[in-house]
Symmetry: C2
Subunit: 296 residues, 2 copies
DNA sequence: TCATATATCTGACTTTAGTCAGGTAACTGC
DNA sequence: GCAGTTACCTGACTAAAGTCAGATATATGA
């Protein structure tokens, strides 16, 4: 890995330096790029404007003054426009101007061109192999750098995760859950419960919670972003939740799920969960599991 | 690829920032590392000392003043020692001191540790997949960034390549070639010939030449570093040599090789070469080939 | 032997990248 | 409605990274 870093950065990293070539220093170009990305209709939420904060967290917690200054630069060059967020006057909405989009496309084009040039000497087969290798490496590195954090269930990230969780359940099972129905379950908070979020680049990609139920621990709200399934994230989260259950003083964990979620059921079984009889009155659940935790 | 760069650098690139953690700024640490690398008995030529120039080219053509200053810093910290090169008084030999080696090992250790930490959340199987993917990507990127250049046969790189070529032939076929026997073949020079070197990180990894022989073009000195075989480098070099033959006004290329070199023979056949009768009196050759070049 | 080229060094300079310590206006919870 | 937070901004600062224009000593070719 280290070897790869050295050699890759020396070759291709220098390439990304041409990230500039646009007359913009690297940091500034990065911000421009990030603003443009947010406007791209890739994710479901394709709002052409972002907040300053969003940019900061997506770029890994840059200093607010630093970002502010760079935004000022971009603004003075006419690449971005800012305005007060009507929803919260402290925030500023940032969006690319027409010129900014031109710059953004330019960055893309230049970068594309550079990649093409680099790959030119390779045969098509080699190129395919390289792309595949990079895609694999990317997924795994992303998976490895996911952070697991306990948050309050009312935290915006938690809300987003639960929103998607319920939306998906609704989609798959043909019912809708009231928008506000999951907002504030106090059992998922300390001292007797906990809610965890797995985040990548500041966006939630998985969630899960433990709470007390009927004298044992119960796992709730297990959800993994569809794009991230199969990366071992669920199992990792599960281990984390079990450790938390142990910490909360429980020796037994139970959970319910639904027959249609066969991947989840497989995961629970692989993790040592045993099928048991119905232990609650959840109308959506069809399968019930239980596991005895080993002492740490 | 661009996607990978963005995401990888954001995660792991920041990792390599800890390349410092040693109190040395990144640039300086890079130089220390490079000097240490040169001393490592990885390559056949494991001279504990390098020249300033070597460092500069290996790091991609840094400014000489910049490097000089960093060397001064390293020297003042007691990590490197320099001396006049007895072979050429303009040059300076640079080597790590004992303390310098300690620092170098520290960098290695720290970097290793960091990689371990990063990979920790992955399952062993995932880790293996990642390593494999990175190794593949590394090889291909290296292959893609090789430079093909015409040099004079007396150029040190050319000399090194031919030296290894003859050494290998000698090894494999049980005879030795006089050290000075290949030094100066004027037929491999313009106007009627050309010698090409494929280099990676300033080290020759493949060589090949065209010359005129008996009214047609002849390819000579085809050699690919054993570590690089199978990466399509030979075929690429061959295409290049054919283009050069064409440029020199030839329509036909011939070459000889030896039965034991089955990979080479396969490559020539795949490239459209046809077996012909002996056309010269090279005692080491057993196979003879010919190809008619298409107009560009 | 002399003109020219090469390898390195020194000094003066610029641009990036980033940190830190406040400041201001807007929101939030009690 | 007010204390405390939050989101963003400004100014002052630093260190790193790199560029450029000579200077110096050594080698090389005619």
């Amino acid at each position: 890995m280290r070897k790869f870093n050295m050699s890759y950065v020396r070759r291709v990293g220098a390439l990304e330096d041409s990230f500039l070539g646009s007359g913009l220093p690297y940091g500034t170009a990065r911000i421009l790029y990030e603003i443009g990305l947010a406007a791209q209709p890739i994710s479901s939420a394709a709002d052409p404007a972002t907040t300053v904060q969003e940019i900061r967290t997506r770029l890994g917690g840059l200093d607010s003054g630093y970002v502010s200054r760079m935004l000022r630069t971009l603004e003075s060059k006419g690449y971005v426009a800012t305005e007060r967020d009507p929803a919260d006057g402290r925030r500023r909405l940032v969006r690319l101007t027409e010129d900014g989009f031109k710059q953004w496309d330019d960055l893309e084009r230049r970068s594309e061109e550079h990649a093409r040039l680099l790959l030119d000497p390779l045969t098509p087969r080699q190129r395919d192999r390289l792309n595949e290798a990079l895609a694999t490496a990317d997924l795994l590195v992303r998976a490895a750098t996911i952070t697991l954090e306990r948050v309050d269930p009312s935290d915006p990230m938690a809300q987003e995760a639960m929103g998607r969780y319920f939306a998906e359940i609704g989609d798959r099972f043909g019912f809708t859950v009231g928008d506000e129905g999951f907002g504030d379950d106090p059992t998922l908070r300390p001292p007797n419960g906990a809610f965890f979020i797995a985040a990548s680049d500041g966006a939630p990609v998985a969630s899960g919670a433990v709470r007390e139920f009927d004298g044992t621990a119960e796992i709730k709200r297990m959800w993994v972003d569809p794009a991230w399934r199969g990366a071992g994230l669920g199992a990792r989260l599960l281990r984390h939740l079990e450790a938390e259950a142990l910490r909360l003083g429980h020796r037994v964990v139970r959970l319910d799920t639904r027959d249609v979620l066969s991947e989840a059921i497989g995961m629970y079984e692989r993790a040592g969960y045993q099928r048991i009889d119905r232990y609650n009155d959840n109308p959506h659940a069809t399968h019930f599991f239980r596991k005895e935790l080993a002492q740490a």
